[in-house]
């Protein structure tokens, strides 16, 4: 049996169901709206596992699901060794979001990472603490800022409403995902001009650690063939 992990709610789930539907693989939820179990039609030996999108990377890495759908931002954040644990089979063309670093729009002197670094140095000298960047993408942002030689900052954890942290003075800048930039603008924030830290979209992933039986292997080949993917 091939276990396919799919986001359990919202637009991401609906779009995933539609996407597989194009290839004659019909995914649906069984029972009531609140019951997290699913049905697969149009292909044999595939079991639908409904999960939070944030748990899909971990389940793929642990080999508890064979394939899964989630954003590449979550894969890279949660799996330091993602390239040996999972393989990206197909970009699905929805759920596009950029991970960006944004600062208050009134910081007219800060346009690039280079400016952010200089502003952080001055901020630390003046306020006696490192400039705070609110995010839930700690590993991705830390690696990015280290690679680009930014110093004198600290990351503060924010699991939601991250754009509000600057106004509430619990952070000076934010690093978050955005698709249109609307929420950033509404909160008087502006992204740096260096470009996004990471461009994410919903992606079909293959676990490189899951155990395969004959039925699962056969189901994998069938999915590959339907999707037109080469080995």
């Amino acid at each position: 049996m091939l276990k396919l992990g799919v986001p359990s709610k919202g637009r991401l789930m609906d779009k995933t169901f539609q996407w597989f539907g194009q290839y004659g693989i019909t995914l649906s939820r069984s029972g009531s709206e609140r019951e997290y179990s699913g049905v697969v039609n149009g292909i044999d030996d595939v079991e639908l596992v409904l999960l939070s999108a944030g748990e899909v990377p971990r389940e793929l890495a642990a080999g508890r699901i064979h394939m899964g759908v989630t954003g590449t931002d979550l894969v890279r954040e949660k799996l330091p060794l993602w390239h040996v644990q999972v393989k990206e089979l197909a970009a699905m063309g929805f759920g596009q979001a950029d991970l960006v670093i944004a600062v208050p729009d009134h910081w007219v002197d800060v346009d690039t990472l280079d400016d952010l670094d200089a502003a952080a140095a001055a901020f630390r000298a003046r306020h006696g603490m490192r400039l705070r960047i609110a995010t839930k993408y700690h590993r991705l942002i830390r690696t990015y800022l280290r690679t680009h030689g930014v110093a004198d900052y600290q990351l503060v954890d924010s699991q939601g409403a991250t754009e509000g942290t600057v106004r509430h003075e619990t952070a000076e800048a934010v690093a978050d995902i955005t698709s249109t930039g609307e929420t950033l603008r509404a909160n008087h924030l502006r992204m740096l001009s260096d470009g996004p830290v990471h461009q994410s979209q919903a992606t079909l992933l293959l676990s490189l650690t899951a155990p395969w039986d004959d039925a699962a292997l056969h189901a994998k080949e069938t999915i590959r063939a339907r999707l037109g993917l080469r080995e």
Binding site: F123, R167, H188
Partner: protein, 362 residues
């Protein structure tokens, strides 16, 4: 693999006995260290390298990533000068990239707090390590952050530019970008030039939110304007700095190159004299200095607290292994942790597991 096999413990005990015989006072350090101090010293990068854990009463803690910080703290709080300390125990390092790198290993360390003759203290620590590791085929690499600092101080430019270069001495990529900008090799983009020329640069910008005030933004704009009007660093000085950073030779040959450079870069003269005195002291202590390598950029990618002599012992041909031993001078760290007081200090650590792996049991 366990960090503490009997063979590794025996090698650790052997090294520790050598440090004790050198007059060191034995010290211990708590495994749980307050995270705020380490974060303040090293910045966010330490989170990628140290294990963090939470304590409901004392806040965030880290499993000690090294002994130097707690030993310096202990010395600055109570110690009398001069002093020498030895320690032996496990340190813990998070590994995000390579699952085969050790997360837990023993360090045997020696720290010397003595301001009476710093070049001699440098040489004493290095000779002690070279002796302890004698017989193992190791490459001995050294550098001198003090010479780089002196070179930056001597540049013909504003204090602000020197401070910016100094701040990024340990981040070679950004250091290079700053040097390119200050020497006029790269120009500010059109958008930046337009911003600085504007009468009201805040026109169209959002409201003032957050802790960083409008006044701070204005202060930085003034800095940017001042910097835009600053003449570029002379090309000849950038070339000399590049020569210094690219220097790689045996220590005696490097000394004569440095003496040549000091003719055109008089600011490094004192630091080069210190280097010469250290080499003499090394020879006096029986170290074959022709086997000691010197690299102008050595130590620029390690921990930020080294600010003078730096060294490392490496297994020949084993680029996959971390250094068997590392160390250096960290006068500035004692100033940061000493709350106003400071004392010249130099020290280092050996990994008995790697000494054993390369050299075998002795």
């Amino acid at each position: 693999m366990s960090a503490q096999t009997p063979a590794i413990l025996a090698e650790a005990a052997r090294l520790r006995a050598l440090f004790d015989a050198a007059g060191a006072h034995p010290v211990e350090a708590a495994i749980l260290q307050p995270a705020d101090l380490l974060l303040d010293l090293y910045g966010e990068d330490i989170r990628a390298r140290a294990f963090t854990t939470s304590d409901p009463l004392h806040g965030e803690q880290m499993l000690r990533p090294d002994f130097t910080v707690p030993v310096v703290q202990m010395h600055m709080a109570s110690g009398a000068d001069p002093a020498r300390y030895a320690y032996c125990g496990a340190v813990f390092r998070r590994q995000e990239d390579d699952p085969d790198r050790a997360r837990e290993y023993i360090q045997v360390g020696f720290e010397l707090f003595d301001g009476s003759n710093p070049p001699h203290a440098d040489a004493e620590v290095f000779a002690l390590f070279a002796g302890a590791l004698g017989g193992i085929p190791l490459r001995m690499a050294t550098g001198d952050i003090g010479i780089l600092i002196a070179a930056i101080r001597g540049l013909d430019t504003t204090d602000r530019r020197k401070a910016a270069l100094m701040r990024h001495l340990w981040r070679p990529g950004r250091f290079r970008a700053l040097l390119d900008r200050f020497s006029g090799k790269t120009q500010a983009n059109a958008r930046r030039q337009k911003l600085l020329a504007q009468k009201n640069p805040f026109r169209g910008a959002g409201p003032e939110i957050g802790l960083r005030s409008r006044a701070e933004v204005e202060a930085r704009l003034a800095t940017l304007r001042e910097d835009a009007a600053t003449p570029p660093l002379p090309a000849a000085q950038v070339r000399l700095l590049d020569d210094l950073l690219a220097l790689s030779d045996s220590a005696p040959a490097a000394l004569s190159r440095l003496e040549d450079l000091a003719v055109d870069m008089p600011a490094i003269y004192g630091a080069v004299e210190t280097f010469a005195a250290r080499l003499d002291a090394l020879s006096d202590l029986g170290v074959d200095t022709s086997r000691v390598e010197f690299e102008g950029s050595y130590g620029r990618t390690t921990l930020e607290y080294y600010d003078g002599f730096v060294f490392g012992f490496y297994a020949e041909g084993r680029h996959d292994l971390p250094p068997v031993a590392t160390g250096g001078r960290y006068d500035a760290l004692t100033r940061v942790l000493g709350r106003g007081r400071s004392i010249p200090a130099v020290g280092g650590v050996i990994r008995p597991d790697l000494a054993l792996l390369i050299g075998g049991a002795r």
